[in-house]
């Protein structure tokens, strides 16, 4: 396929109207022609530029007034000590439905520990946690079985959530498609790339439609396109009224989030 055709197809895949996609494709080719260059020389790979353009259009479009929902997570004065070492103390955070909160901080400051406390897998030493019952956790790594396929993971996590097998499989496939990934039936998780494994982790975290999503640097191994897809997905969850808490160390992620909790401070 030619560069404009790939570009236009990617724009369509990302949800643009056909007329708008055609218009952008024509304009992009014209811009390249004005510089007497091929589009690929100026804009790089067509699919990546399409994703970049869509993300830019999303950011520059007038942001509608979003309404936030009920409180889904509230931390009040939460602290954690391991033996004599204080990991963090007096952390407070309130996240409502329709909001994204980012937890940032230096290595070892307790970002993942705080996320595990939010999940209920680790108990805080002090403070109180109030949390909605339906929660999904996406760990930084691990959390999958290397000898099983993605479809078998959908079945396993679906069974844990009380979902019937066909529904778990179709939901998993649908969520994977939103991350531009189509799982192969015969491919085991250990044969997947690091980025694709993280996509599986994201799908498993969301499979049972939790109200609160806890994401621990879930984009490890993502390429640029997958990274943009990921943030689009986060904002789609937010627009659907869910609360998202994401651990990140990439400061440019923070422009579009509603709360930033810096554990280093």
């Amino acid at each position: 396929m030619s560069w404009p055709a790939v570009f236009e197809a990617e724009l369509l895949r990302l949800g643009l109207q056909p007329r708008r996609a055609r218009q952008l494709s024509t304009e992009t080719v014209q811009q390249a022609a004005e510089h007497a260059s091929a589009p690929a020389d100026i804009f790089g790979p067509a699919h990546l530029y399409a994703r970049h353009l869509v993300s830019e259009l999303t950011v520059t479009a007038p942001v509608p007034m979003r309404t936030t929902g009920p409180v889904l997570l509230r931390l009040t004065g939460v602290g954690k000590r391991y033996r004599r070492q204080n990991v963090f103390h007096d952390v407070s955070l309130t996240v409502r439905g329709g909001e994204v909160a980012a937890i940032v901080g230096a290595n070892g400051c307790g970002k993942s520990t705080l996320l595990r406390i939010c999940a209920g897998l680790t108990r805080p030493t002090s403070g109180t946690v109030e949390r909605t019952r339906r929660v999904g956790l996406v760990p930084q790594d691990g959390g999958t079985a290397g000898w099983l396929t993605a479809e078998e993971h959908f079945r396993l996590f679906g069974a844990a959530a009380g979902m019937a097998r066909p529904r778990a499989a179709s939901t998993g496939d649908h969520l994977a498609a939103r991350l531009a990934w189509r799982p192969r039936r015969d491919q085991r998780v250990q044969q997947l790339s690091g980025g694709t494994r993280q996509k599986l982790n994201l799908v498993l975290g969301e499979l049972h439609s939790p109200d609160l999503l806890l994401l621990d640097e879930p984009y490890q191994g993502f390429d640029q396109g997958a990274y943009l897809d990921f943030w689009q997905q986060v904002f789609a969850w937010r627009d659907a009224g869910r609360a998202i808490v994401v651990v990140t160390h990439l400061l440019h992620d923070l422009a579009n989030v509603d709360h930033v909790l810096d554990l280093s401070s």
Partner: protein, 226 residues
Amino acid sequence: MTALVVASLSAREVGRRRLALALMVSLPLWFYLVRHAQAGSSIRMLTLGIGWAISTLTLFVVNASRTVDPRLRLTGASVLGIVGGRLLAMTGVGLALATGYGLLAVVDQKPLHPWSVMLMMVVTAIVAAPLGSLIGAVLPRELEGAFALFSFSAVQMLADPGQLVAKLLPFWSSREIGNYAIDGGSTDLIWRGLAHGAAVWVICTAGTVGFFAWRLRLARYPEPRP
């Protein structure tokens, strides 16, 4: 339902590890062949090999799931569903192995009571799965768990049957049933063996469930106030 899905996927996971499976299946055979000339001893060694193979397999399956289990709990799975499913799968694998080797021993060695040789193998497999699972629960890293199992098997092999320590070991049930199967005598040996096996099974299963209930416990947070 969760237990059945965990069981079927655990079995599938093990089935895909062809080399590990082949080594696991062949392990009891070496025990058997080393003592092949001595009928009774070879059958006793065979049961030890089966016990060691199944408990080690279960230990590694349990340890391999360490990062998956908390997520399953968070998604809604019960501890019983997770632990029970895995035990079901490993017991099934153990029973298949025990049946195969039991038939081999019966055909090859022509023991006094063939049915009790089969029973001896089956009891070993049924006890071995929760034993491996308990060690995996207490020692969640492979190396430590493997050494613990190695110690159990070594002591089981070397302990004087007359000593108290032999009676406290997990596979003493197989030895008791084996005494009847190979040497003959009172059926009390069978009942004592079955009672010991049942006690070990209950202790190991309850211990596994208890440890996992503690390790996979979730904090109960209240719903947020408006």
